[in-house]
């Protein structure tokens, strides 16, 4: 079978740049249908244009009556029959292609795939790497690290409304519905950062609900996972120490958890290794001290309607808090 390919569209959030087997199947099916329908479209338009050009009358003469004879009738019959047959055949080609794509995606299902649990929240992604030893379970948010070339068993649901998990370079969409577990297997074959987004309108900040799949070599991934499983370390500097006190005595502690401290609420994202993440607010802003400070003081000006309230902190309190959050590597 000739591999049809749309000229390469690079990009880290594009279905036309597949980096995993799942997305490759989908991209192939897309190309097949795209090229067939494009060809049909061009042919139909060409016939229309030819008909217009070969008009049989002008404005000042009446059209001649259509003369029919055996020969023209036969030609027309053959033409129409051939077009109908080709149409049916092409429809079947697309149908079978679609069926085969679905089957190929289903065949990726493997028992020994690495499990990752993803929960959609308004408006961020909770990511969990389950482990039989409970203390090794890793929880993070919005940044999904995976080893390259290893099948991942994705299991997900929603904590509030319907969301949809979609990283176009990696796989198709999967809706996350409250009370229902979505499960499928995907795999990333190329190291890199692949962006994904919620694909089901879920409220005011639906557009600011993105995530990143970070595909890295297996040993790097193992290193990352080991680090994430650690509890936070007690801060060493006096500023960071004061910052920890600020965290524990203000509103932060009501929603966030930092493993290794008394903060253990499960309403907002887990901040145990906040500093190791590259973005804040579900991919809305790069994770820099300035952005983080602005976000803490008034998240509503950045993501109106989000679940985090504005926080009143004095300048020194904020600086200490930022110093503490920076230690959460």
């Amino acid at each position: 079978m000739i591999l049809l390919a749309v000229p390469g569209f690079p990009g880290n959030q594009s279905s036309l740049n597949p980096v995993g087997p799942g997305a490759s199947h989908i991209e192939f099916e897309f190309s097949l249908i795209f090229w067939i329908t494009t060809a049909v479209y061009i042919i139909v338009l060409a016939v229309l244009v030819i008909g217009v050009i070969r008009r049989r009358h002008t404005l000042d003469t009446m059209p001649e009556p259509l003369a029919t004879n055996e020969a023209t009738e036969k030609r027309a019959r053959i033409g129409v029959t051939a077009a109908a047959v080709v149409t049916v055949v092409l429809l079947f080609v697309m149908l079978i292609g679609s069926f085969e794509t679905g089957r190929a995606l289903g065949d990726m299902n493997q028992e020994n795939a690495m499990p990752i649990e993803i929960y959609g929240h308004q408006w961020w992604w909770e990511v969990k790497y389950p482990n039989n030893d409970a203390y090794k379970t890793v929880e993070t948010a919005n940044e999904i690290h995976v080893p390259v070339g290893v099948p991942i068993r994705f299991r997900g649901t929603s904590r509030d409304v319907i969301h949809s998990f979609w990283a176009p370079n990696v796989s198709g969409k999967r809706d996350l519905m409250p009370g229902y577990n979505a499960e499928f297997v995907w795999q990333v074959d190329q190291p890199g950062r692949w962006r994904g987004q919620c694909a089901e309108y879920c409220g005011e900040q639906h557009a600011h609900m993105s995530f990143e799949i970070v595909a890295e070599p297996k040993d790097e991934f193992t290193q990352w996972l080991t680090n994430q499983a650690q509890s936070s370390v007690q801060p060493a500097t006096p500023e960071a120490n004061r910052g920890q006190q600020v965290f524990m005595t203000h509103a932060c502690v009501l929603c966030h958890s930092i493993r290794g401290t008394s903060a253990g609420s499960r309403v907002g994202p887990d901040l145990t290794h906040l500093a190791s993440r590259s973005t804040i607010a579900a991919g809305t802003l790069p994770n820099t001290a300035g952005n983080l400070g602005g976000w803490i003081l008034n998240p509503q000006s950045i993501k109106p309607g989000c679940r985090m309230p504005p926080n009143q902190l004095s300048g020194t309190e904020l600086q200490d808090l930022l110093a503490y959050l920076e230690t959460l590597q």
Binding site: L254, G305, P309
Partner: protein, 189 residues
């Protein structure tokens, strides 16, 4: 015929005008400095001390009590801040029930605000410095909806829990007494 059409239009307009307030959403509640409830920092020695004297004045009823979004936010916060840990879903457990006519510390919005922000003896913690003002008022509105104090079309009507009790909008209106008037014992001067 024309009169009927105008009348219908007028009725639609009236319904819409009533509904607007109910659906209005305020996403930017103002800078953190405007959040009075955050003004007093909490420490181990004075829980919610340095309080500005006098109870805060209740904000416009329209913004919270008559606003379905604010009340449903209150319902969400009631879960998030673990109020359900003690009060359950209004039925009471460690803390008193909130869906009945018995109000230990008063049922006025300002009194409930005080209860949340300053805490009360025997277990109600102070949330001063932890919850911004607008969220306290959202909680106040929701708590009042539990005993049917709010309009039916504003109170939240669907729970994610097992419906062992009527939803807030279907609860009969209780009439909590505002204060426990202590009668002086008879025979005393």
């Amino acid at each position: 015929m024309k009169v009927a059409a105008y009348l219908a239009l007028l009725m639609v307009a009236a319904v819409c005008a009533g509904g607007c307030k109910r659906e209005h959403r305020v996403f930017d509640p103002g800078s953190p400095q405007t959040q009075v409830a955050n003004a007093s920092a909490l420490n181990e020695i004075h829980a919610g001390a340095q309080w500005s004297p006098g109870p805060p004045s209740s904000p416009s009823r329209v913004r919270y009590d008559d606003n379905a979004y604010a009340v449903s936010e209150g319902k969400r916060l009631f879960e998030s801040y673990n109020c359900v840990g003690c009060h359950q879903h209004g039925g009471g457990g460690i803390g008193p029930a909130l869906m009945d006519a018995q109000w230990i510390y008063g049922s006025h919005p300002e009194q409930i605000y005080e209860t949340i922000v300053r805490g009360r003896p025997n277990g109600m913690p102070s949330f001063s410095g932890k919850i911004p003002d607008y969220q306290v008022w959202e909680l106040v509105a929701y708590v009042r909806s539990m005993s049917g104090q709010l309009r039916e079309d504003v109170a939240p009507g669907r729970s994610d829990e097992m419906p062992v009790i009527k939803s807030e909008q279907a609860r009969p209106k209780e009439h909590p007494s505002d204060e426990h008037q202590q009668k002086p014992p008879e025979g005393q001067p």
